[in-house]
């Protein structure tokens, strides 16, 4: 498994988690007005929304580092090992979010933990269907998309956006966990598609 670990460069996911930690602390409760299809033409968004991206991209990058021939013919179950690492990283991302939130740096950090799970799940799902580059673009694109069309006329975020909802929103939490589970399952079941969006 040493070869598997070295090939995947899993230590980069630790770097991603560290960047997530510092991004969450740095973002704090800072807000910015972004363009949006709302009655006033813009919406105020917490910068914390974008903090899970480093950990999400790090996971996708590591999963993309493969030795296809060796993995197909080897007896080691690298898919299961990948799932175990991704679950660990997801759990650590949640711990970091709780830590930042409880340390008083930003109350909204808890939502960032849930969002990290959702974006990682979305990225892994798209990766299984369209490839790694599209997966990263989909995770980032989701954030841009929901800031544009994710708010109703009363400036309340829709439930389907998941990442814009409050930290205590049960439906968003369930959706994020489901998306993470689907992504995790697809990561273990199938190799990413390499034709089409390459």
């Amino acid at each position: 498994m040493t070869l598997w670990f070295a090939t995947r460069r899993w230590w980069l996911s630790a770097v991603g988690l560290l960047v997530f930690l510092f991004a969450a602390i740095g973002a704090g409760e800072h807000q910015a007005d972004l363009p949006s299809f709302t009655p006033i033409g813009s919406v105020t968004v917490k910068l914390m929304l974008f903090s899970p991206i480093p950990v999400c991209l790090a996971i996708l990058y590591c999963l993309d580092r493969r030795l296809p021939t060796a993995e197909l013919t080897g007896i080691r179950r690298t898919g299961l090992a990948d799932q175990a690492v991704v679950m660990t990283v997801g759990g650590l991302a949640l711990c970091i979010a709780v830590l930042v939130s409880s340390s008083g740096h930003a109350a909204s950090a808890q939502a960032a933990g849930r969002n990290a799970l959702f974006l990682m799940g979305l990225g892994m799902t798209v990766r299984a269907m369209l490839g790694s580059t599209a997966a990263g673009a989909a995770s980032v694109g989701w954030l841009a998309l929901v800031t544009l069309v994710g708010y109703g006329g009363n400036l309340r975020p829709y439930a389907w956006t998941v990442v814009l909802r409050g930290a205590n929103d049960v439906v968003s939490g369930a959706l994020a966990c489901s998306m993470f589970a689907v992504g995790l399952a697809l990561t273990g079941l199938r190799a990413p598609k390499t034709r089409g969006l390459n």
């Binding site: 807000q31 363009p35 996708l60 990263g136 673009a137 980032v140 694109g141």
Partner: protein, 420 residues
């Protein structure tokens, strides 16, 4: 490679499906707040989605660079020059950027009912230059960073860079992103420098990165020239905007004023020309009443920039074609109050107010008393009613002494005090 083949295998094909509808709706969204029939606004509306165009196109360029990198194109025996290989990969992306801007112009023209005018050319040129710069920056990033990371990072980085600073407290950074945060009006145009600054920044960095891949020898010279371009562009851009406030500087719009009618003559921007008869009718009615009350009626009512000097016989007014006739009478009546300094800026405890003469002007102009009362402070309304009970000479004396007080930021008089 033929263009259609390049486009078929390019990521631009997928990006187009998302970008082009987004551009259409973003332009329509921006145009909600723009003046109908104003050609410059069409170009500015088409420039508004620059954050989406630059982010998606630069991510596509990164993607294409990643594909060339993965195919190890740069290490193969050369058949074409590097520039041609890069241009071939980027042509679909550049075409998508141009198509998005062109579609924005069409959407703006349809929504505002007018074709873009020449004054908007600098806005479009700036947007195009900024987008091309970010395409080059994205391609350069994709040449050195794994595309799984590079493309999403470019997408997110450019999106945040172009949207977040607009609400930042650091004023200079707002003007360097390429997102045009200040819009032209029918009386004032955004200064040309506002379009140059973001191009200097992104263009300097893009040229620097492009030079890094050139064949200039020795390598140290290449690196030095590239670094110089990026630093000089950034510094020039910063120095240009360092002292700017939240909005970019504006200049008075010239050559667009149309004058017609007489007693009073009405001067408005050419976009408002069809409204002149309606403006004149409202002005005639109101001026007659103000003249009866003892005010000297002006020769001209002009909707011009505050930066333009006007004669003493000209009153500035600020009508809008969408205003009802009642609102238009209010606008004309209030034009009797000249431009005043912002006394509260220097003295937060300033006790003077123009609300008294404002209510008096509206009541004198024949505006419904209930309408005036609904907009006025009760105390100031009482002052206005008290003034109306005085003689004409006393009313005019109170009006002029209030204007003098407001101009010198001193306390405004009560009607009874001014009359005595």
């Amino acid at each position: 490679m033929r263009f259609l083949t390049s486009f078929r295998i390019s990521s631009a094909k997928w990006a187009a499906m998302l970008l082009l509808p987004a551009v259409w709706f973003l332009v329509i969204e921006w145009a909600r707040f723009a003046q109908v029939g104003f050609g410059t606004a069409v170009a500015e509306a088409a420039s508004f989605p620059v954050f989406a165009i630059a982010a998606l196109c630069s991510a596509c360029a990164t993607w294409e660079a990643g594909r060339l990198r993965r195919s190890r194109i740069w290490s193969l025996a050369p058949v074409h020059t590097r520039l041609r290989v890069a241009a071939n990969a980027l042509l679909p992306v550049v075409t998508l950027a141009c198509a998005a801007i062109g579609l924005g112009l069409v959407a703006g023209s349809v929504d505002l009912g007018v074709l873009p005018d020449g004054a908007g050319a600098s806005s479009i040129a700036s947007t195009l230059a900024v987008v091309l710069s970010y395409i080059i920056i994205g391609f350069s990033l994709g040449c050195v960073v794994h595309r799984t990371l590079a493309a999403p990072l470019m997408l997110l980085g450019v999106y945040l860079w172009m949207t977040v600073p607009a609400s930042s407290n650091v004023m200079w950074i707002r003007h360097l992103t390429g997102e045009q945060i200040t819009s032209s009006t029918v009386t004032d145009s955004v200064s040309f420098t506002a379009f140059i600054a973001p191009v200097l920044l992104s263009g300097g960095v893009a040229i620097g990165l492009a030079l890094l891949s050139s064949t200039i020898r020795p390598k140290a010279l290449r690196g030095g020239v590239a670094m110089s371009c990026a630093v000089v562009g950034t510094l020039l851009a910063y120095l240009m905007v360092a002292n700017w406030g939240p909005d970019a500087p504006m200049i008075a719009r010239t050559g667009a004023t149309v004058c017609a009618q007489s007693k009073p003559k009405i001067c408005v921007p050419r976009e408002f020309e069809p409204q002149i008869p309606r403006f004149h009718k409202a002005a005639t009615e109101v001026m007659l009443r103000l003249k009866t009350a003892g005010l000297d009626a002006p020769d001209t009512l002009a909707l011009v920039s505050k930066r333009t000097e006007v004669s003493s016989t000209t009153w500035r007014f600020d009508p809008s074609p969408e205003e009802s006739n009642e609102a238009l009478r209010v606008t004309v009546a209030l034009s009797a109050i000249p431009a005043l300094p912002d006394c509260f800026a220097d003295n937060e405890g300033y006790s003077g107010s123009k609300e008294g003469i404002r209510s008096w002007l509206l009541l004198t102009a024949g505006v419904d008393r209930d309408t005036v009362a609904s907009q006025a402070d009760p105390k100031q309304m009482r002052s206005a009613i008290a003034a109306l009970k005085m003689s004409k000479t006393s009313q005019i004396r109170w009006f002029h002494s209030t204007i003098r007080a407001l101009k010198s930021c001193s306390a405004t008089p009560e009607p009874a005090d001014a009359a005595s």
